[in-house]
């Protein structure tokens, strides 16, 4: 895999900010009563991540280590304020829905985390790719939680009525924790299952003629 494909797979799956790294949890729990607000938040974080990662990467040789964190915060806060202005001007409905969570993107640990661990050590193009795919991974996670909660709690899918059967619990904070926990477990199971089968496939490819292949996962479990 080339390095951009690795960055993409890491951001979207292996180091998915929502389900694997469990970052940005405050907004994930607070803004997922509807799929649309989750999608809006996810895309907002993606834009800020993309811009802040690129700028921080471009400035990485100029910023002294002693003031790197305050410098990153200034860059991130500027990007978030710009985003707020753009949303207030052109998408006022989304701006209202996101409310207090929009300025809180400044302290979203995904953004500062990627700035410190990736953008400060890689080229601008790689950092932009990392920002984009980490943001899209987060968007996928937060939107998926929003879809599940909206469907179970309100009987709608992106605002369209699907069923009259609803369970109010899923619109509450407790419901958010419940859905989040279940989805983290399912995502981790899927990733680990996929990883196991890939490892087994590779191992079987290396078996010389006449030797027994490795047991299947079910057989392995019974052993």
């Amino acid at each position: 895999m080339n390095k951009y494909a690795t960055i993409a797979v890491d951001g979207l799956v292996r180091e998915n900010a929502t389900f694997r790294l469990v970052l940005g949890t405050c907004a994930t729990l607070g803004l997922t009563t509807s799929a649309l607000s989750g999608l809006g938040m996810g895309l907002s974080v993606t834009v800020v991540l993309l811009l802040s990662n690129t700028i921080i990467s471009l400035l990485r040789r100029l910023i002294p280590s002693a003031v790197r964190i305050p410098s990153y915060i200034v860059v991130i806060a500027t990007m978030v304020t710009l985003l707020r202005m753009v949303l207030d001007k052109f998408l006022p409905d989304l701006y209202e829905v996101m409310g207090v969570f929009l300025p809180l993107i400044v302290v979203n640990c995904i953004i500062l985390g990627r700035a410190e661990s990736f953008a400060s050590k890689h080229t601008a193009l790689e950092s932009a790719a990392d920002g984009l795919f980490t943001g899209l991974g987060y968007t996928f996670g937060i939107t998926f939680i929003g879809i599940v909660r909206e469907l179970l709690g309100g009987g709608t899918f992106f605002g369209l009525r699907v069923t009259d059967f609803t369970i109010g619990f899923f619109t509450n904070a407790a419901g958010a924790f419940f859905v989040y926990g279940i989805l983290i477990a399912l995502f981790s199971m899927a990733i680990e299952g996929f990883g196991r089968s890939r490892r087994r496939k590779r191992a079987n490819l290396r078996i010389p003629d006449g030797e027994e292949p490795l047991p299947s996962p079910e057989k392995e479990a019974t052993l």
Binding site: A66, V75, P92, V100
Partner: protein, 200 residues
């Protein structure tokens, strides 16, 4: 020139430069993307009517804007002859909630035959950190428009059960509901005394 080789000074200089560039960028974009008060009001009208409408602002004296449980923020006369009052009510979870109340009317003040026929719509405006405001149901807002006969007879709304007023509350959002009820009551009182009463 020794100063420019000092690590602490250089660090501060870089941070200062970043902050200055960021500040300049924000200042430029603030000018480009500034949303005026007129633009915000037009957005509220578009939310109420579903399209842009012509309105005329009515100025009220400051003392006519303050009431026991709320305050009238602005009054407009729409092209269809209805009055739109923006008011805020106290008693919310962390402060006040503002709403727009549409008073449907026939006739006009100029012709001397202005008659109030009821409440056409109540639309949420803004709030001060009401966490559960999005949980308020459309039924709650709809209830304000379903009691025209009683409101015209002099009744107000109440978020508390057991009073003589019309009971209206959104379940699990009682504090924000109370603020909205107070805002609507404030608008009704102002409309009755200032618009129908002839003070405006």
């Amino acid at each position: 020139m020794k100063l420019f080789k000092n690590k602490a000074f250089l660090s501060l200089l870089v941070l200062l430069c970043i902050a200055l560039v960021a500040g300049a960028l924000l200042a430029v974009f603030h000018d480009l993307l500034f949303v005026t008060e007129e633009e915000r009001t037009a957005r509220s009208f578009a939310k109420i009517y579903g399209e842009a409408v012509e309105t005329q602002k009515i100025e009220l004296p400051e003392e006519a804007k303050k009431y026991e449980k709320g305050e009238v923020l602005s009054v407009y006369l729409a092209e269809d002859g209805n009055y739109l009052l923006e008011s805020k009510g106290t008693g919310g979870y962390k402060g006040t909630v503002s709403v727009w109340t549409v008073f449907t009317c026939t006739g006009s003040k100029e012709a001397g035959d202005l008659a109030w026929t009821g409440i056409g719509k109540v639309v949420y405006g803004s709030d001060e950190s009401e966490s559960f405001i999005n949980k308020i149901t459309e039924d709650f807002y709809g209830e304000f428009t379903a009691h025209d006969a009683e409101v015209l007879a002099g009744k107000y709304f109440s978020a508390t059960a057991g009073t003589e007023d019309i009971y209206n509350v959104s379940a699990n959002v009682t504090r924000s509901s109370t603020a909205i009820v107070n805002a609507v009551n404030t608008a009704i009182e102002c409309f009755k005394t200032q618009i129908l009463g002839g003070a405006a």
